[in-house]
């Protein structure tokens, strides 16, 4: 049982923040729940109960968008954590120009997502793109990366991984730095091979970083929109549509109530996936650092 600690500040001191919080965060959130129950054209909102939700789940593209969202989130967050850990091991191994190479890995994180999307759309052009021209030079006929319905979602995921792996690497580098060298020394004295040291020492002890990376990239993947919009706009057809792009399309078409309902669904989906993770890790002493890092994102 916890008793609430008395705030060291008087009410007038926190009032400005409270006003901002209520008008910019609380009111819109509550209003969105209301508007999701209406047929809304920005002028008039007609209450229609749960009709928008029924409509949303009847959309054939939505089911595909939902599946795509999960595939996209799992693929990108899985690849970012595996690649991020391997890159972090490489970049903490004391190789030449280590500091410079760390920045190189991080650069894509800093570039505008839309810019990256446009650049990759050009690189992945099936006949004139640099990737397929390079493949053609060694006698391979490259696929239509972004316009083959079976491939488009994974091509976009690939771009996302390239862009986001720098952040994962950075978190892992911090995680690796926190592991005491004593463990490695002890392992070496016991005759552990490099492989065993990696699996038995590094991977378990870097777990807080792993939780952070997985959670951050999972949330990022679930609400991913900009890179998909800049490369395929959810196409061809609906092949790379995710929840966020389906919602945006409803908004563009003027179905404001319907798209608000979609946002509520996205909100709930992220909550359902992420809340158990934060609860789970808040119970473990070891992960306090990692959980603190992701608390603002989950909220």
């Amino acid at each position: 049982m916890t008793t609430r600690r008395r705030s060291p500040y008087p009410y007038w001191f926190v009032l400005p923040a409270a006003v901002v919080f209520v008008t910019l965060f609380l009111v819109p959130t509550v209003a969105s729940f209301w508007f999701s129950l209406t047929r809304w054209d920005l002028f008039e909102a007609e209450f229609i109960g749960l009709e928008n939700y029924r409509q949303f789940f009847r959309e054939p593209f939505l089911v595909q968008g939902l599946v795509n969202t999960l595939i996209y989130a799992v693929v990108t967050s899985g690849a970012k954590s595996v690649l991020g850990l391997l890159l972090a091991v490489l970049l903490t191994s004391g190789i030449w120009f280590q500091g410079f190479l760390r920045s190189v890995v991080f650069f894509p994180v800093l570039v505008s997502t839309i810019g990256i999307g446009i650049a990759f759309a050009a690189l992945m052009h099936p006949t004139r793109g640099a990737i397929n021209l390079a493949l053609a030079a060694i006698g391979i006929e490259g696929p239509a990366w972004l316009s083959d319905p079976a491939l488009a979602l994974y091509s976009v995921a690939l771009i996302d991984i390239w862009k986001g792996v720098g952040l994962a690497t950075l978190i892992y580098i911090a995680g690796l730095a926190a592991i005491s060298p004593d463990y490695y020394e002890a392992a070496r004295i016991d005759g552990a091979t490099a492989w065993q040291r990696f699996w038995r020492v590094t991977v378990p002890l870097v777990r807080p970083a792993t939780v952070t990376v997985v959670t951050l990239s999972l949330i990022g993947g679930l609400r991913s929109f900009d890179i998909i919009w800049a490369t395929t706009r959810g196409g061809p057809g609906f092949a790379s549509d995710v929840l966020a792009s389906v919602i945006y399309k409803q908004y563009q078409a003027g179905f404001y109530g319907l798209s608000t309902a979609g946002n509520v669904i996205l909100f709930l989906l992220i909550g359902v996936i992420v809340l158990p993770m934060t609860w789970g890790c808040s119970k473990r002493e070891v992960d306090v650092g990692a959980c603190a890092a992701m608390a603002p994102v989950a909220a």
Binding site: R39, D41, L42, F43, Q55, R58, P60, F61, A121, H125, P126, T127, R128, A144, L146, S147, D148, P149, R233, G234, G235, P236, G237, F238, A239, K249, Q250, Y251, Q252, A253, G254, F255, L258
Partner: protein, 425 residues
């Protein structure tokens, strides 16, 4: 004048007393970003300001397509759409909620010059006219490359079977039969939307039945045919290799240079040809989308976009004056001078010059004979589903069959019909 401007309330009072606000006025105009649109509007604005030195126009461009729909709707809703907006007529106009967002232009003097066929597509549900035409009417048919047709000894197809036979010969000759540009998804709709003349020829009541939820694309064979044509083109492999990412400009380049034999497109595309490949402008011919019967062959027509005045505009009087000028025979002449003739203007007393490009000359006979044109569905029914372009991309890329695509589209339009509050949905 300057002291008056400093005191807004006094200025407004004086304007009220004077009856008209003839102070220096700047009208803001929101355009769709198209090069031709800008050229026409700049020429009109210059001529208008020369005549009315106290009114100047300020042009602003927005994106096109659904991105642009979004901008227009949001700005109208928040009262920030300025004084004049250029936007589609027909079903997209209906989706703007015109009765509450746009000014009533029924009694604009220039309405007397405007053809009734246009007025009907900018008439709000309450029977008032809310817009004037801006630019020429367009055809929705097929551009073809004349030198390639001559080289292969082809003649203009009057039925779909003849069209496919031509395509087979083009493919044999190693050229692309049908330029396909799904990189700009909206271009994928032409085979469906441009086929509407043929739909109406077989089912004259389709538009009303469709609006009243009595007819469906999937269950009306004539309406389903457009989807089937897309599927046939894909299955025969008649597209260019990069069809999934090629853009509208690629398509016009391909058909103008003879890289491709055909490109189904609206006739506003001539502006792009004039800009990008002017040396090929007379290599392009035009024909209506062929249907099942050679006897009933005609063109599906798109009405021009319109100019509207947002109801929230502060300068409605000045804006009306400008619109009156645009819809006059003189305004029409200025537009033709600015961008050349690409189709008939829907203003009485506005004649096209004699020396039009070949593809325009190919199109005009359809307009001159009775019964050889029909408006596209979006001008006869307020319902247009937002996902049609994704669905036609799917059918045209072999992801979904024609029958499934049509059924999916029927489902897609339900949302629009309900949002508009139509009866029987």
């Amino acid at each position: 004048m300057k002291t008056l401007r400093g005191n807004a309330a006094l200025a407004a009072a004086v304007a009220l007393v004077a009856g008209t606000a003839e102070a220096e006025t700047t009208l803001s105009v929101l355009l769709d970003g198209n090069a031709d649109t800008n050229a026409m509007m700049e020429a009109l604005a210059a001529a208008f300001t020369a005549r009315n030195p106290d009114i100047t126009l300020e042009l602003e461009n927005r994106p096109g397509g659904s991105e642009g729909d979004n901008v227009v709707k949001t700005r109208l809703a928040t009262g920030e759409a300025g004084d004049i907006i250029q936007y589609n007529s027909g079903s997209l106009f209906q989706a703007l909620n015109p009765v509450s967002t746009l000014a009533d232009l029924t009694d604009l003097p220039a309405q007397d010059n405007i053809l009734d066929s246009f007025k009907s597509v900018v008439t709000a549900p309450d029977g008032t006219v809310r817009g004037i035409p801006f630019g020429p009417a367009m055809g929705g048919g097929v551009y073809y490359n004349i030198p390639l047709y001559e080289e292969l000894g082809l003649s203009i197809p009057r039925t779909w079977d003849e069209f496919m036979a031509n395509n087979a010969k083009v493919a044999e000759a190693g050229r692309v039969p049908v330029a396909t540009t799904f990189g700009d998804t909206w271009t994928s709709q032409l085979f469906v939307l441009g086929d509407f003349y043929n739909v109406l020829a077989e089912v004259p009541t389709f538009a009303e039945d469709y609006t009243a939820n009595r007819a469906k694309f999937a269950t009306t064979p004539a309406a389903l045919r457009g989807f089937e044509h897309l599927q046939e083109i894909f299955e025969a492999g008649y597209m260019n290799r990069d069809f999934g990412v090629a853009t509208f400009e690629d398509g016009m380049r391909m058909v103008a240079t003879g890289e491709a034999a055909h490109y189904p497109m609206l006739t506003f595309a001539m502006a792009t040809v004039r800009q990008n490949t002017p040396e090929h402008i007379d290599d392009l011919g035009y024909f209506a989308l062929p249907g099942p019967s050679a006897d009933r062959n005609g063109l599906t027509v798109w009405m021009p976009a319109a100019l509207y005045i947002p109801a929230a505009s502060q300068n409605i009087e000045a804006a009306r004056k400008f619109l009156d000028f645009v819809a006059s025979p003189e305004g029409c002449r200025i537009m033709i001078e600015a961008v050349g003739a690409t189709g008939p203007y829907l203003i009485e007393g506005c004649e096209l010059p004699a020396d039009v490009p070949r593809s325009v000359a190919d199109m005009l006979p359809y307009f001159e004979q009775d019964g050889r044109t029909a408006p596209a569905l979006e001008f006869l029914s307020p319902i247009k589903g937002p996902a049609l372009e994704q669905i036609t991309v799917e059918v045209g890329s072999g992801i979904r069959s024609a029958a499934e695509g049509a059924a999916l589209y029927d489902q897609d339009v339900e949302k629009q019909a309900r949002q508009l509050g139509l009866p029987n949905w």
